[in-house]
Structures are given as C-alpha cells and as structure tokens.
Symmetry: C2
Subunit: 388 residues, 2 copies
DNA sequence: CAACTTTCGTCGGATGCTCGACAGAAGTGA
DNA sequence: TCACTTCTGTCGAGCATCCGACGAAAGTTG
C-alpha cells in the first residue's frame, strides 16, 4: 500500500476517521496512522476536529488541507490572458486578467504571466516555493508531452517555442501545457459533470473547436490537433472559408460568418459581440441566424456523436451565451441525425461556467499533477529519509 | 518491485540474462533471481540456453515461454464464426471456422464456440485448465465492461445477453467481449503497427465501421458505439438509407450500394463479392464505382481525421481487397479536406492481415488480460503461499 | 592442464511495511 | 464520582523484499 493510495480516499475533501480509512483500505489502524502522519507532516492532510462520540473517546477527523500548496491556471485567449491562483481543492484565491494579443509573441505573453503569477503569490503572503504546478491553455495546437505549440495559425512566433521550459525555469514549478479548448472541456467536466467519463465541449466563438474527453481522459491525438471541428465540411454548404476549402463549419456557424450573414440583411453588425447583443435583444434575424448556425453545428456534431459516442455535449464560447437558439438548433439536428443508441442517453447542455471554464481546467490540470501518486510518493519517501 | 514489472521486460520474447535484467530494473542480481525463479515455476518464463561466454562461465538466458498458457480468439461475423487457439506470444496453434448466421441467436452461436474451443484445446493434448482467457468480437454495439451486446441491429435475441458470463461458466476462463471492428483495429495495431498509438481501422464491407485507438487505448465511448461511421452523412449525397435517413455513408459506399449502382449500368452484380470480383477483373465501371466510394469515404474520414487526429488509417473489410482504387479515392479526399497539420504525418494503408485481423485482435485482448500485472502478481503470491 | 574469469546458487543480515497488543486519554451514562 | 466505552499513541514481533558475500560451477586462455 502506497501513501498516495490512502490519500486518494481523502482527495474529495470529506473528513474521515482513522477507523474509516482502515476499513476502506483493509489496513490495520496503526498502519493507517503511519500513512496519515506522513501526509500530515507533508501538510497535505490536517486534523479537523473530532467526530461525535459513539459512547467513548471521540475519533479525530482528518481531511485534505487545501492550503498545503498553491497551483496556478492560465487561460491565454486570442486577445486576453486570465490567471488564477488556486488551492488544492480548486478554490480560487486570486485572479488577474489583461488584454494582450497573443500575436505579441511568447516573450511578451509569458513575461506578463510570470510577473502576474509572482505578484499574486507574493500577495498571498506565502513563499514562492509554495507554488508547485501551473496549467496553461493556448489558442492553438499544442504537443502536450513536450509543452510546445505546433504551427498555431493565430500565434505567430510561437511555433515550437518551449512554453513549459520557459515557465518552469522562471517560476520553479511543474508546467502543463494544453490546447485552450481541451482545458475548457476539462474545466466543464470537473466543475459541472464530475461523474461523466465521456464529455465533449464545443466552443463556438470567433472560431469553432471541441475538447474531447473519452473514457475519462482528454483525447489529444497524434499531433495534439484532435477535436478540430472548425474546418469540417458541413453537408449542403458551399461557403468559402479562409482556409481555402469550401463548406467549412467555421465559414457558416462561427461569429464572423453569422455577422456577415446579418449584414446582408442590412443590419449593422461588426463582430461576434454584436451578434450576441442583437440576439439577446430579440432581433428576429439574429435569432433565426443563430438557429441556423445551430443546425449547421448539429450536422457536424451528429457525426461526432456517431464517432465518439459521448454522454454529454457542452456548448460554450461567446455565442453560447446568446440564448437558447443555438442549442435548440444543435439538438434538433443531432437527435435526428445521430444513431438512436448513441443519442438515447445523450445530454446536450449549455456551459455553466463560461468564461471560467478554461482557467478552471488549467487549474484542474495543475492539481492533477501536484497530487499525482508519483509526486506524492516521492515526497513521502524524501520525508522518511530526512527524518531518519 | 513487483514480479510483473520484471516480467514486462521479458514480454517481447527476447532472451535476457539475469545481469541484463538487474541492470534494467536496478535490482541486485540475487533479487532478480528470486523473481525469475517465481516466473519460471509458474511457467511463464523458461531458460533458453546460455549466452556466449565473455571469458568466464556463460550466463544463462531466460525468455517468455509462450506455451505456458493458452488463449482463444473468436470472431463472430454476420454469417460466419472464426475461432483461433493461440499461445502467449500470439502464435496461432489451431483454427476452426463455420458458416453460421449470427441471427440464429446466442445459444446456437456460443454453443458452437464452446464445443469448438473445447475440441481444439483437447486436440492440443493439454488440460482444459490451460486455457486462461478468451477474447470475442461481435458484429454490433457491445458494452465492454459487462460483456453484453446492446440493441445490436443484425443480432436478434442478443440484446443484453450475458455473453461473458455464459462463456466463462462453460469454459472456466476469463472472457473479454468487444465489437468486431474494435478488435480488428486492435489486431491491425498489434500485428502491423506496434509502435503507433493513434490508429483508426475502417472496415468496408456490407456495412461500414471504424475502430478507434487513441493514445494507445481502444475508444469505446459511453455506450460502446464509438466509431460508427456507417450512418454519418456524406456531403452532397441524398441516397436513401435503410436506417431512414438520407445521405448515410453506407447508402453510397458500402458493398450493397456499389452493387446497386453497378446494376444500374446493366452489369450483373448480386452482392459485395461480385463487386470485388469485377474490380479485380478490371471492369472500368467497377473501378470507377470503387474510386467514387473511396471519395465518399474520404469525405467522412476527413472529418474523422480532424476530430481524432490519428497517425495511421488502415482500410480493411472485403472491399479493401478489391484493388487500389478504394484507397486512392480515400487518400485523394482526405489529404485535400483535412487540416494540413493533421495530415502531415498521416499514413493511409490497406490492411495486411485482412480476414485474420479480427481474430488476431481477439487473441490480443485475451493475452493482454492473461498477462496483466493483476493476474500475474496474484499467481505469484499464491505460489509463495503454497511453497511456504 | 592450470590459472583466470565470470556466472550460479545459496545464505545471513538489513530494511521497511504491517500487524496486534497495551496502557493512557477522553468521552458517556448511571 | 465511577464504571464503561472507544479512540490514541507507541512499541515489539512478524513477514516480505532486498542486498552483498561466499564457495562452487563452468567457461576461456596460455
């Protein structure tokens, strides 16, 4: 039995007595004591008072100590950056954001991230060493294993830039890099659908993308480009796309495409934001356009449902905040076009976390690493050696 | 260090000396001896002669003993059943097949399987207890965890039939049940692409389906229906499908659809077999039809490439044996329609194993279970207790 | 054939994890 | 207040695993 196995029981934050843990692990109470002591000395676990007496001396309760370490989550968008400091339970301690264009390049963007993270940590009044892991999402294809963006279309100067190494060197903590839609999917799953193992998050904004969690794991594919919905062909569409092909989903259902369609109706619509505003105001044209975008999305998602067979599709991104129409259009087509067996238990829902999803996912990625069995058992071993 | 960890080093079949194993594991040579002895007593490992002397007593070599146990693989098709007995290296020891319709129902089909497996094992002259695991693929959606088919369209009477339990009870071995296309994908990956972690197998025959291996794991989805390509909509097609929808891939690119198209050209084509025969004979109509089927498949596979980002697509099924045209049509469209980044290192190849792929995958599934750390360490522990 | 080299098989001791026992602490109930 | 209950902390014993050492075995070299 490893110390980390016992810790896994306490990860949920619920306080437990030693006897409970002994029953759950099959160990003797004295062995549980040894493991709990080790975890307590590392700080990961702390006593939280006594349980109610059952007629004798009350048992003392132990629970995850969220403040044992700090982690950070970073969401780098096309034109903004969001940083969040969180504890090990995922509770946000401090946030910061700025409007910085990702096209400014890695040095500028990551420079701001480093400064901001350092400032937020200092502001918590703790040592910089308390920060043990940082998760970061970037708006483009990322090779997760190496922590580098690969030929990202909207990130000039980032190709094969060693993001993980750059941040690790300056912040002295583990760094996990992933695609921004992937971390949104992770964030949604962890906050809103914890019991779901097969979830797809679709982000609909200036671009369109999907994060796929299957069998409880993020699917990244061979080059880290899995889930790229934007340039999938929509049956029946011949719209020209900036990628050079015809009929791409982005060319009909993304923010700019909808805006262009509304302009043809004589409406004054500059970009995605105006589309959302119009729809919220109840403009019939905007509502109709969103419904149609939903149907086009539905055509592609119907394919995705057949291929991936998720149990939940979450729709996020700025356009998801424009009302029910987009979701209604999606549902209409998906339930008609996908296999009955695959849609039988399928739920389609709007994102609840929205703007936070990405940064929550980045935090989740960081916590996952910080509390991984490898890291934990290594620390426990070090402690044993030091105290001998 | 578990005994199974050391065994993992020997799984590839290459003979090794104790010193080599000691270096690889970091253990002392005497500790390696203890583990190797345990494995040898269980039969999984056996001495295979001596290494060349380096100036002193030659070191003795140990290697996986494939004959330590037997496994079985079963491929249940729509109208045939294939059974293969194999050793732990995956080498076939005996095979049997019959033409039995899966619609005859589970009792008839599984009855034949049980009889045949028993006969093959007896024919090997070994005890029935030597058979430790059986993998079986069924032509429909399967809930892998419970080992039951779920609403399979072409398997009346199989819905929620406890295939795993039925076989386990009668054969006394572990039973792994999966979809037939999934096990084909596993078979292809294990035999032809062992180093590839992201592989998609497309089966094109009477129906069309895909088995998706991503991150080294079979993707089954929430209900076990992942990879269902057959009823994905093909852009530009309005063909009526037996499922009730319009434009399904099966309605244009599967065997029956191609046969129907050729009949319209006045050719005498009854079914899939005739299509293959015509194409092989060089009929221009058949060749053209297959090329077009390939393009239609390519449209759908282009989507799959964007969503899943595999590094290899293998095309199997009876129609893949009709020449290069199908593959050419697929490649033509996929490389044009998918994201450049996703196709950069993508390979599209014809299945090499063909008829064997499914049964090879079933065998692989069985071996995987038989040699899993859990099973191995449990046996090692039992041995330790028995010998004390 | 003898000296040398390298591995083999075995064994005792060290280490680390686990268990059960026991006395003391901290509650409850009459 | 006192008997009773239940948990806590600690400790020695048991057990498995690992290591290094030793003489014997089995080659090579001159």
């Amino acid at each position: 039995m490893r110390t980390s196995e016992l810790f896994d029981l306490l990860r949920d934050g619920r306080p437990r007595t030693r006897s409970e843990l002994a029953r759950a692990t099959g160990l003797a109470r004295s062995s549980v004591t040894a493991h709990v002591d080790a975890l307590a000395r590392l700080g990961y676990v702390a006593p939280v008072g006594d349980a109610a007496s059952t007629g004798g001396r009350p048992a003392s309760l132990f629970a995850l100590n969220p403040r044992a370490r700090l982690v950070a989550g970073v969401d780098v968008g096309a034109t903004h950056i969001l940083v969040e400091l969180a504890d090990l339970a995922g509770a946000a301690l401090a946030t910061a954001r700025t409007d910085l264009d990702v096209a400014e390049g890695p040095e500028a963007v990551l420079g701001w991230v480093v400064e901001t993270v350092r400032a937020l940590v200092a502001q918590q009044g703790v040592d910089a060493g308390e920060l043990v892991a940082l998760g970061i999402g970037l708006p483009g294809p990322v090779e997760h294993a190496s922590g580098m963006p690969i030929s990202p279309p909207i990130m000039p100067g980032w190709h094969r830039f060693d993001v993980a190494g750059h941040l690790r060197e300056r912040l002295g903590c583990a760094v996990l890099v992933d695609n921004d839609v992937n971390i949104m999917a992770l964030g949604e799953q962890r906050t809103a659908w914890p019991e779901v193992d097969d979830l797809v998050l679709v982000k609909v904004a200036t671009g369109i993308g999907a994060g796929i969690i299957s069998g409880g794991r993020l699917q990244r594919g061979a080059q880290g480009t899995a889930g790229d919905l934007g340039h999938v062909r929509v049956p029946g569409s011949e719209a020209e796309c900036r990628c050079g092909n015809l009929g791409c989903l982005e060319a009909v259902a993304a923010g700019p495409a909808i805006a262009a369609a509304l302009r043809e109706h004589g409406l004054e619509v500059a970009g995605t934001g105006d589309v959302v505003a119009l729809a919220r105001a109840g403009s019939p044209e905007a509502v109709r356009a969103l419904r149609q975008a939903g149907r086009d999305l539905g055509e592609v998602l119907a394919t995705l449902v057949n291929l991936v067979n998720p149990s939940v599709i979450v729709v996020g991104g700025r356009l998801a905040g424009a009302g029910e129409e987009l979701l209604a259009g999606i549902s209409e087509v998906v339930y008609r076009r996908s296999l009955p067996l695959a849609t039988e238990h399928l739920r389609i829902a709007a994102s609840t976390t929205q703007a936070d999803a990405a940064v929550r996912g980045a935090v989740a990625l960081a916590i996952e690493h910080a509390l991984s069995p490898d890291v934990l058992d290594a620390e426990a071993r070090e402690l044993a050696i030091a105290s001998a």
